[in-house]
């Protein structure tokens, strides 16, 4: 069955430091993959999406993610974290390649220290 695993429930990073959030997927074939972000007291927002093609995808606010078929991964990165990046980040896979609702991971909470 299709699934997404985010192994880190919580990550703390210093402001200005780099960030990597891990996501592993289980999917038969080539998946469509997504990162969503949930800022405090707000709904989820799409950060970036991967459709088959260039493995590195650029998103908003300096985020990027890299798809790896050999590692079944779709890790999210940011070179320099800002305090406003304090949020919960969700990785997701589309089970029908755009046909219906997404399957989400359990989320990683990012805390930013000064």
């Amino acid at each position: 069955a299709q699934s997404v695993t985010q192994p880190d429930a919580r990550v703390t990073v210093s402001e200005g430091a780099s960030l990597q959030l891990r996501c592993k997927y289980s999917y038969f074939g080539t998946p469509y993959l997504f990162w969503y972000v949930q800022y405090p007291r707000q709904g989820l927002q799409l950060l970036l999406k991967y459709y088959p093609g260039d493995p590195v995808v650029q998103g908003v606010n300096g985020f990027e993610a890299e798809f790896s078929k050999s590692n079944s991964s779709f890790h999210l990165r940011k070179a320099s974290v800002h305090w406003s990046d304090w949020a919960v980040y969700f990785c997701a896979v589309s089970p029908d390649q755009g046909g219906r609702a997404l399957i989400f991971g359990t989320g990683t909470t990012v805390s930013v220290s000064p």
């Binding site: 429930a9 709904g43 989820l44 799409l46 589309s94 755009g98 609702a101 989400f104 991971g105 359990t106």
Partner: protein
């Protein structure tokens, strides 16, 4: 731009009670979703609706009913609230042809005493 409104923001219920959550969107989107968010479990799909009067069950539909009375609104009913239940219910919408880009509401926080 558009907005998704969820009412109420907070809902406190009693065990066994029937509780209704409402969602309105003004994006003019065709597809709407209800997810449940539990701490440490991510988002799980309860119901979704491709168009008015359509209902599709998600993985977590047992214990819930849904209603899509019109294109802009999607209601979710907890048929019998479970004691000590605590979760956030998120409504989302998307357009046909780009259903992976979902727009979410701020959520309804449920606590059952």
């Amino acid at each position: 731009g558009g907005i998704i409104t969820q009412t109420p923001k907070f809902l406190i219920g009693q065990e066994g009670q029937k509780l209704t959550l409402k969602c309105q969107q003004n994006f003019n989107h065709d597809t709407m979703y209800w997810y449940r968010q539990d701490s440490g479990k991510g988002l799980r799909l309860i119901y979704y609706s491709i168009t008015e009067n359509d209902l599709q069950k998600g993985d977590l539909s047992e214990g819930y009913d849904a209603s899509r009375e019109k294109k802009s609104s999607f209601s979710l009913t907890v048929t019998s609230a479970q004691k000590n239940e605590m979760a956030v219910f998120l409504c989302a919408s998307s357009i046909v042809g780009d259903q992976d880009t979902q727009y979410f509401g701020p959520g309804t926080r449920l606590l059952v005493l």
